[in-house]
């Protein structure tokens, strides 16, 4: 109930019953095996080459990425080559979009005048398919990686931006008034009042953006360069290698799930107050 006060205890609690907490974590995943089995049955009975059964997909994934030496966590050289740079681009793009989106969003949320000026541009930008922009980022930025980063930022910034604007506009007016009365500087108002109050909504945007970044990464890799998981996917598609293609999809899904889980851990820490304040007894 009081995260800070009893913050120390759950840790020891978990440490005391590691088995139980693992079991509980697995218990939450019960739907996964169920889905896998259903998927296996459905694809086997349909017997369509485009929809290979998950067992075939997993076997293929193992072959491509996970049959490496134990020293590399079983990852093959190919996996390291595929994922390393891709993940770096992903995080780079997502972080840049987060910083830009939150800053611009707060500026717009605080000033309705600025909002009036920028609204049409933002809406215009939002409606432009990122793939169509890749060539122009390439034309402008020339090099591969900046152009790919630009593509990711451009694609994922919108939910962050819009949610931030919404969160900023929704800050309880009495909180703002309190801050103004006590003479908070603009920076303090931002850091101590607007950001925390808007944080729950910003986090919703960040979470949306994270998986969107994965999608944009694929698009950027498809349209902009060679290597990476997007390139794999495209190559498999072009060669009619359906298990490989599905392997890429599953890999993306797994990455997305892992990223999201990590993100939720972060969110739980940052928004501890929110969970407390918003719980119904």
């Amino acid at each position: 109930m009081a995260p800070r006060e009893i913050g120390g205890r759950p840790v020891t609690h978990v440490a005391a019953h590691p088995v139980r907490s693992v079991i509980r974590a697995l218990g939450r995943l019960w739907l996964v095996p169920v889905t896998l089995v259903a998927w296996e049955i459905a694809t086997r009975s349909a017997a369509q080459p485009f929809f290979p059964p998950p067992s075939a997909i997993l076997a293929r994934m193992h072959e491509i990425w996970f049959s490496g030496p134990a020293a590399h966590l079983l990852l093959t050289d190919k996996a390291l080559g595929d994922f390393g740079p891709s993940l770096a681009r992903l995080f780079g793009g997502w972080l840049a979009a987060a910083v830009l989106g939150v800053l611009i969003g707060i500026a717009i949320g605080c000033s309705s005048r600025l909002a009036d000026y920028l609204d049409p541009l933002i809406e215009l930008g939002r409606a432009v398919p990122p793939p169509l922009l890749v060539p122009f980022f390439l034309a402008l930025l020339k090099l591969g990686t900046p152009a790919q980063l630009a593509t990711i930022v451009f694609g994922v910034i919108w939910p962050i931006l819009l949610n931030t604007v919404d969160g900023t506009r929704g800050v309880d007016r009495q909180h703002l008034e309190t801050a103004r009365i006590f003479g908070f500087s603009a920076a303090q108002r931002l850091r101590q009042v607007i950001l925390p109050a808007a944080m729950p909504k910003i986090f919703a945007g960040l979470r949306l953006a994270l998986s969107l970044a994965l999608i944009l990464l694929v698009i950027a890799e498809i349209f902009g360069g060679t290597g990476g998981i997007g390139y794999q996917l495209l190559y498999a598609q072009r060669s009619y290698l359906y298990p490989d293609m599905w392997g890429c999809l599953v890999m993306l899904g797994l990455l997305g799930y892992l990223l999201n889980s990590a993100f939720l851990l972060l969110e739980r820490r940052v928004l501890a107050w929110h969970r407390g304040a918003r719980q119904t007894n």
């Binding site: 996964v32 920028l118 949610n163 309880d172 909504k201 293609m245």
Partner: protein, 257 residues
């Protein structure tokens, strides 16, 4: 009031166009690859009277509108269920998080195999990609409902469903609406992408494919600009609707500024 807002919007857009034109004039980018803003605007103006393009635009807009409706019809109830029942949300979360990052470029080829009707295909792809913001915002919106407001109605003996419908939903609605606005942007992108990737007989994406065949980058950009303008218009409509529906929300927070 409203006039001022429109004027400011136009000023902002004009400023942007002028800036891009200036970059074009400066020779920083090769005009072959990025035509000048004025060229694009002229081409875009020409498209208004091009019956072929108008037909394409109508097809795209229709698919977009239907797709957005479908999205709302699917994602809002789903979001309410997931937001209201944490146990369900926990169970389904791995699947959702697994599906979310799968890109449309990979989905569209599979959807082509599953749908023999172009419109159905577009709708399915739109709903798939644009449901997420609505869903996530609904879940977060529901978590953000003031517990005292819920307790109030509970206290009067209303059941969980009534509390969901009468307190949680209205109080989360503005945030869900933001999700819908994010979704509408994604939906228009997905409509055009589906047309680009899966083809068809009409649509802005088809127009762009054809323009590409003749290296008419100006026409490609002009059509893209129109897609963007449709996005602006649809957003304006949604914002106006939000302002009407959620007057309480805006009035409450705007008074402080």
């Amino acid at each position: 009031m409203n006039h001022v807002r429109v004027l400011r919007g136009v000023a902002g857009a004009a400023g942007f166009a002028a800036a891009v034109e200036a970059v074009g004039l400066s020779g920083l980018v090769d005009e072959r690859f990025l035509p000048r803003m004025s060229t694009i605007l002229v081409s875009a103006a020409g498209l208004i009277v091009d019956p072929e393009f108008l037909g394409d635009a109508v097809a795209t807009l229709a698919a977009w509108a239907l797709g957005l409706l479908l999205t709302v019809a699917v994602a809002v109830p789903a979001g309410l269920v997931l937001g209201a029942l944490p146990a369900v949300e926990r169970a389904v979360r791995p699947l959702i998080e697994f599906l979310r990052p799968i890109p449309s470029v990979a989905i569209i080829p599979l959807a082509i195999l599953l749908f023999s009707d172009n419109l159905h295909l577009k709708l399915a792809v739109i709903a798939y990609a644009s449901s997420w913001p609505v869903l996530i915002n609904a879940i977060y919106g529901l978590k953000d409902v003031d517990p005292l407001a819920k307790e109030t109605l509970h206290g009067f003996g209303f059941g969980p469903l009534a509390v969901l419908a009468r307190v949680a939903l209205p109080s989360a609605a503005p945030f869900i609406a933001t999700g819908v606005r994010v979704a509408s942007g994604i939906a228009i992108i997905l409509t055009v992408s589906a047309e680009l990737m899966a083809g068809g007989s009409e649509g802005i994406g088809i127009f762009i494919t054809e323009a590409a065949s003749g290296n008419r980058i100006d026409l490609m950009l002009a059509a893209t600009l129109w897609a963007g303008l449709f996005g602006v218009l649809s957003n304006a409509v949604l914002v106006a609707a939000e302002r009407r529906l959620f007057r309480w929300h805006h009035a409450r927070s705007e008074a402080a500024r």
